[in-house]
């Protein structure tokens, strides 16, 4: 289990993260979301031990990531990993191989073959997506207990994305690994993450189960025979609303049945409940906080 307590950090004199508290149970895939510059990458670097926190602690089963025994269980894949001019996948693997005893060469070979990568070719000659695939192949082959991925899907084609998702799910199911993945593609995260944490205004504004998060919202499309009064939805827990002629589309926070009853009382000619996805829930939450 990962325990983050009262974590704060500054970059160049500016506070980036303030009083982060987060618990991540073992065997979960957690999506780390937030707007650009929210501090997702900084949090992952603090969690991996790349940055030393100004305040607070990160603990993996009670141990600090500063301890090298703990770090044997952690692998961090940054959004733009460095490679030297002559580096190949094989030479990168040579660095990690002696340090991570659990590295599974069969998995590595299988992934390199499935991604159709030439392990002896310099990484600089690879496309952005191929580089991503190469690093993901190494990260997954290392079989870490805790895998921290920063913008892991950036540049990957749909087939590679699917493959990576399957491999991550397999890691969690077979090895009980914990995966923390930051991404801007919330629809992608919703597909395979079971938990989420939103970083907003330097702190974790909400976290928990993705399905529970989505269930807190409901979306309705209503059509009216006459012109719609401006204040028709007053008194309802509206998160966002769009009007188009005699149509209204609204996202509400609360129990779907209760909202449905209250909307029916407005006597719409047509009323339809639509599914709310994680992206909408995230946008609603962040927008609402900005408005406050």
């Amino acid at each position: 289990m990962i325990n983050i307590r009262d974590l704060s950090h500054c970059l160049g004199g500016t506070k980036i993260l303030d009083n982060i508290n987060l618990t991540i149970p073992d065997g979960t895939i957690m999506g780390l979301v937030g707007i650009n510059g929210a501090g997702k990458s900084t949090l992952l670097r603090l969690m991996s031990g790349v940055y030393i926190p100004d305040e607070g602690t990160v603990c993996y089963d009670g141990a600090s990531p500063a301890d090298e025994k703990t770090r044997e269980n952690i692998f961090f894949l940054p959004d733009d990993p460095y490679f030297t001019h002559q580096a190949t996948i094989k030479s990168m693997l040579d660095m990690y191989k002696p340090l991570y005893g659990r590295l599974d060469m069969d998995v590595y070979r299988r992934l390199v073959s499935e991604f159709e990568l030439d392990e002896k070719k310099p990484i600089r000659t690879f496309s952005k997506g191929m580089r991503r695939q190469a690093y993901i192949a190494i990260a997954i082959a290392i079989r870490p207990k805790y895998l921290l991925l920063d913008e892991a899907f950036d540049g990957l084609d749909p087939l590679a994305r699917q493959k990576v998702k399957e491999e991550l799910i397999r890691m969690v199911e077979d090895d009980g690994a914990t995966v923390i993945i930051s991404s801007h593609s919330l629809r992608e995260l919703e597909d395979f993450c079971d938990r989420y944490a939103v970083i907003d205004r330097m702190t974790v504004s909400s976290s928990g189960d993705i399905s529970e998060k989505v269930e807190r919202y409901c979306k309705f499309m209503l059509a009216f025979a006459d012109d719609i009064p401006e204040n028709i939805l007053d008194g309802l827990p509206v998160i966002s609303m769009t009007r188009s002629g005699k149509f209204i589309k609204g996202v509400f926070e609360g129990d779907g049945h209760d909202i449905e009853e209250r909307l029916r009382a407005l006597a719409p000619t047509v009323m339809e409940q639509m599914p709310v996805d994680f992206e909408e829930a995230f946008i609603n939450e962040v927008t609402r906080r900005k408005e406050k």
Partner: protein
């Protein structure tokens, strides 16, 4: 195998080619720089050789290798792939320190052996056995210089700043001792300033041993009166008091540098890599300190005051990477201008 051994083995193997290339270059330069030189007079044949290249080579290695060993730690993207590895930063620092030292020692040893082999045919004219203590002292001087430069380079957040720090530190000791000598007028301090250049331990050993290893080789010059070769007595090995005191200083400086390097490396903030080098051992202390010392030592003319002001301002622009003056800069500038004004008035 411990994590240190694993990391060290990986790092050693990955820098082997670099070391081999440097060794080949050093070898080629040694072969072309150290050779027996035959000088004939009317009656005798003398053999001489200049081995000072070995000292110059050691100084070059001690300057270049810290940059090669540590430049990877000045790149934020690279740190993302290094600092999460299951090796503590302290062990990483030790691995890089030892690896660089091995490169210096091995390359120096190869060059010393090559130089000795080049001269062995003339062993009866040369004191070649003295090459052994010369090598030992060279390695001592190398450890000092290398340790100082490793510490200095770790203070910088970019490779360029690291190189500038190394250049400033190379003369900082000389500037400070000269200024102290100027203020106190103590003869011993005034006379010893040149021994506080970073390269002085190696230059002292090299110049002493260059004369000692070739004792039968005389210094020749054509005396216009006799129109023949005159022979100057051979040098003997001996270090003066200034040099002896400076060796103690450099020994302590070497130990302090190793401790400082390990301390700084293990606490370095990865997020600062590539940013402004704001270490207290960097620009913000070095610029005013060296400026003041140079001012005390040689600058009294009015034009020199203006030149110092310009030089220090350029130094601060390099440090801050900006032309924008902040409040502390204005305070310092105001104080400096007031200082100059007082100089004009009084």
């Amino acid at each position: 195998m411990t994590s240190f051994k694993k990391y060290f083995t990986y790092h050693f193997k990955s820098t082997l080619l670099r070391g081999a290339v440097m060794a080949v270059l050093a070898l080629a330069l040694t072969v072309t720089s150290v050779y027996p030189d035959t000088v004939r007079s009317d009656t005798e044949v003398y053999i001489r050789s200049d081995i000072s290249f070995l000292g110059i080579l050691a100084a070059i290695l001690c300057t270049v290798i810290p940059i090669l060993e540590l430049s990877g730690f000045k790149n934020r993207r690279n740190l993302d792939t290094l600092f999460f590895l299951p090796v503590t930063r302290q062990k990483m620092a030790v691995a890089h320190y030892i690896n660089g030292l091995i490169h210096i020692t091995v390359i120096s040893a190869i060059c010393f052996v090559t130089a000795a082999l080049r001269l062995i045919g003339y062993a009866e004219h040369l004191n070649l056995l003295a090459m052994f203590p010369f090598f030992g002292y060279t390695i001592f001087a190398c450890i000092v210089m290398y340790s100082v430069f490793m510490f200095v380079f770790t203070q910088a957040n970019t490779v360029a700043d690291g190189a500038v720090f190394m250049a400033i530190y190379a003369i900082a000791g000389f500037c400070i001792v000269t200024a102290i000598g100027e203020i106190t007028s103590i003869t011993f301090i005034e006379g010893s300033a040149e021994n506080y250049f970073v390269y002085s331990p190696i230059s002292v050993f090299t110049s002493e041993y260059n004369g000692y290893i070739t004792p039968t080789i005389k210094y020749f010059y054509y005396d216009p009166d006799v129109q023949n070769i005159a022979i100057v007595s051979p040098q003997s090995l001996g270090f003066n008091d200034y040099e002896a005191v400076s060796f103690v200083f450099w020994g302590i400086a070497g130990i302090a540098s190793v401790l400082g390097y390990l301390f700084t490396f293990s606490r370095q903030k990865a997020e600062k890599a590539g940013g402004i080098s704001d270490s207290p051992f960097g620009y913000k202390v070095l610029i005013p300190l060296c400026g003041l010392c140079i001012y005390i030592s040689i600058g009294t003319a009015d034009i020199m005051n203006i030149m110092y002001l310009i030089a220090m301002a350029i130094g601060y622009i390099i440090y801050r990477r900006s032309f924008k003056l902040k409040i502390p800069d204005l305070v310092v500038l105001g104080a400096f201008l007031a200082f100059i004004l007082c100089g004009f008035i009084f």
